[in-house]
């Protein structure tokens, strides 16, 4: 018994630094959600003698007309991003797989995967420049076809779609490579057999490729479900402006503005808490479903 413990002790010791870090920087902030139930005064400190006000902050938020709008924006933007973010890479991976030249295949992959590694600060700067109505290259290009200038980043009708399109642009290379990796795993014998049976490309895609990567499709869709309330803080923050708050403000940017700019700590924490609870439910169920349908286990 004693000997076993001695053998085990180093393992426990190894975990100490990691545990200390997550306690300090994850669990203490979790305890900090109590701010949501307080009339929080920062000067008194996180564990200071704050005034408790029950659910007042939540009630206040629910009665804000902008809150419903923000919630709607979040769901709208993020669900379109999720759906397109699943379908476009899939279609693209299947098309790319049909290419016979390895050289082209590899260069295409390299090009589409690159934006994934650039920050939204950099991409935001690029988008602001190329989408600008005054001299932006996109509007100039549209001008050749007689399209009148579009204010992509300043027009409430266009802004959500600009967000969705640019998000797909940044991320679809990643999804494509995941799907391609899965396609590579399919037994080539199946394709040969199908060719002998007289199947054309379309038959093969429909009856071999798609069923062959069904697990990955299910897994990615299910796991993305957990991200439903994350409409992309980094992106929105770098692209929006007061003109488009109406269509582009999402939960995370809302929390930032009312919390840190207006210093309504309690209210902002209440919104954050609301978001975290729903996200927790979504992520847990998505992991559960992923295990159920794709046998995906995180540990």
């Amino acid at each position: 018994m004693r000997a076993k413990l001695r053998k085990e002790l180093p393992l426990h010791l190894m975990l100490v630094p990691g545990l200390v870090m997550i306690i300090l920087f994850s669990y203490v902030p979790m305890a900090g959600v109590m701010i949501a139930f307080q009339k929080f005064i920062p000067a008194k400190g996180l564990f200071g003698d704050q005034k408790w006000i029950g659910l007042d902050n939540f009630e206040y938020v629910m009665n804000l007309p902008s809150f419903t709008q923000v919630l709607w924006n979040t769901l709208f933007i993020s669900s379109l991003k999720l759906i397109l973010g699943l379908i476009i890479p899939l279609v693209f991976a299947i098309l790319l797989n049909e290419l016979t030249s390895n050289w082209i295949k590899r260069s295409v992959q390299t090009a589409i995967y690159l934006p994934y590694f650039l920050s939204w600060v950099v991409l935001g700067g690029i988008l602001i420049d190329i989408l600008s109505p005054s001299g932006g290259i996109v509007n100039e290009f549209l001008g050749w076809f007689g399209v009148s200038k579009i204010f992509f980043l300043g027009d409430n009708d266009w802004f959500p779609f600009t967000l969705i399109t640019s998000d797909v642009w940044k991320n679809f290379g990643y999804g494509t490579i995941v799907y391609l990796a899965a396609i590579t795993g399919i037994d080539p014998g199946l394709y040969e057999a199908a060719t002998i049976d007289g199947a054309n490309r379309w038959h093969k895609t429909w009856h071999i490729t798609i069923p062959g990567i069904r697990m990955v499709i299910v897994l990615l869709s299910v796991l993305s479900l957990g991200q439903l309330l994350n409409a992309g803080f980094d992106q929105v923050f770098n692209l929006y402006s007061p003109q488009v708050y109406e269509s582009g403000d999402i939960l995370d940017t809302f929390v930032y503005r009312i919390g840190l700019l207006d210093a309504q700590y309690g209210v902002a924490t209440a919104v954050g808490f609301f978001k975290s609870i729903i996200s927790l439910t979504l992520i847990s169920s998505s992991y559960f479903l992923a295990y159920r349908f794709a046998k995906y286990r995180i540990f």
């Binding site: 426990h12 190894m14 997550i22 902030p29 959600v33 935001g124 420049d129 700590y265 978001k275 992520i283």
Partner: protein
């Protein structure tokens, strides 16, 4: 065609950044610089803020990445053991896992770091993300694939767990660790929001936060009058483009060489078995 669409915007920005201000503001620049000039780069590079923030970013990577790797290894190794070899294994595993599922939100997070007195210090950028739980998951799954016999042999030879990690697991996992290191570096290089939020003094901004204030927020308030006059000679567009390009340069340069690791990284993460 689609892949061109992905990189054309980047090429355009580079072209703008090397063009003369007149050509850029008149909108003559497409994919090749017009009236080639380095003026905007000279200007950006002459700013002390630029070099200061570059130094902050490099320090951040220098401290952050080794710390991330060290903690990932230290956490992943014990958790890769069976639960009979490590008591409370599932308690530990859940403790880490929960941090991926739930967080206190922005305000409590900010308040906590403020209470620790970390604002305006490099540690505020490095410590909160010190344990990348997702990397831990990847690495522990990788560790599990390592044949048990190797470890047993080491234990018989009298090596303790620390010895075993260092001289057996780490060398074997080099490709996985390289991938995780790259992701951690990219992450640190690209982070901008924590810098903006936690650094009160712009002198402590990492490069991406600095670029964010200049390019996106157009924050000219902390600029001297002389700087303003200088600026009048270079167009806003070329200047911003040069900063955007410099901000992404390390990644663009390293990318072709590192791409295979990156691909390995996502395959490591998403498609198992």
């Amino acid at each position: 065609m689609v892949s061109l669409l992905c990189i054309l915007p980047l090429i355009h920005i580079v072209a703008v950044s090397f063009s003369s201000s007149a050509a850029a503001s008149a909108g003559y620049v497409r994919l090749w610089p017009v009236d080639f000039t380095l003026a905007s780069y000279m200007y950006t590079m002459s700013r002390t803020e630029f070099w200061q923030s570059m130094l902050v970013s490099l320090t951040r990577i220098g401290i952050g990445t080794p710390l991330n790797l060290l903690l990932t290894i230290l956490v992943a190794y014990p958790l890769s053991k069976e639960s009979h070899a490590l008591r409370f294994r599932s308690v530990y595993a859940w403790a880490f896992f929960v941090t991926m599922l739930f967080n206190g939100g922005l305000i409590p997070w900010y308040t906590t770091i403020k209470e620790y007195g970390l604002l305006d210090s490099i540690w505020a950028l490095v410590l909160p993300g010190a344990v990348p739980v997702f990397s831990v998951v990847l690495l522990l799954n990788f560790f599990r694939e390592i044949p048990k016999e190797l470890e047993e042999a080491a234990l018989i030879d009298g090596a303790g767990h620390f010895r075993t990690v260092w001289s057996i697991f780490v060398p074997i996992s080099k490709p996985a660790l390289a991938t995780l290191a790259l992701f951690s570096m990219v992450e640190h290089w690209n982070s901008w929001f924590d810098g903006l939020l936690l650094m009160g003094n712009p002198a402590n901004y990492p490069l991406q936060s600095y670029i964010q204030t200049i390019v996106i927020q157009q924050n000219l308030s902390n600029m001297s009058r002389d700087a303003m006059l200088d600026l009048a000679l270079i167009s806003d567009r070329t200047l911003k483009s040069s900063q955007i390009f410099l901000g992404s340069l390390p990644i663009i340069l390293a990318y072709p060489f590192l791409q295979k690791y990156f691909v390995k990284g996502i395959v490591l993460g998403s498609v198992k078995g």
